[in-house]
Point group: C2
Chain length 78, copies 2
């Protein structure tokens, strides 16, 4: 059982209200000097070997389905 | 400007409806052999050096604030 991770983050030029809320809350709690952006992490168990073809398949459905590439970037980590 | 990442994932014994929905949708799209769990990724910019004290601070607010440790595990990656 192999694992591939897909990280999806809001693009740098896109406002990130969740991250802004977390940053503000941390400040109010006395944790200064932190700026947070919030995204998604997908942990994908693969029931076969992680070949280049499988990684291409993951990249393809990450782009079309896991991330909204208008506003989000993604990376596939194996 | 240094960066610390906090990954928050549903505990293995906890149902993950978002991950289940993604897994089901992938199957229906013809992508078989994948099992997905969905969590959160926080990218934290730190405006000072990432010392052990800063990492301890991040670990502390990750535990009390970014993750719900009843149902989620977290890891701090620097």
């Amino acid at each position: 059982m192999a694992r591939v991770v897909v990280n999806v983050m809001p693009k740098p030029e896109i406002l990130d209200p969740q991250g802004k809320a977390v940053t503000g809350a941390l400040k109010r709690m006395g944790h200064t000097g932190f700026s947070v952006r919030q995204g998604k992490r997908f942990e994908i168990e693969v029931d076969k070997d992680v070949t280049d073809e499988v990684l291409d398949e993951v990249r393809q459905f990450a782009e079309s389905f896991l991330a909204n590439t208008v506003i989000e970037n993604f990376e596939v980590v194996s």
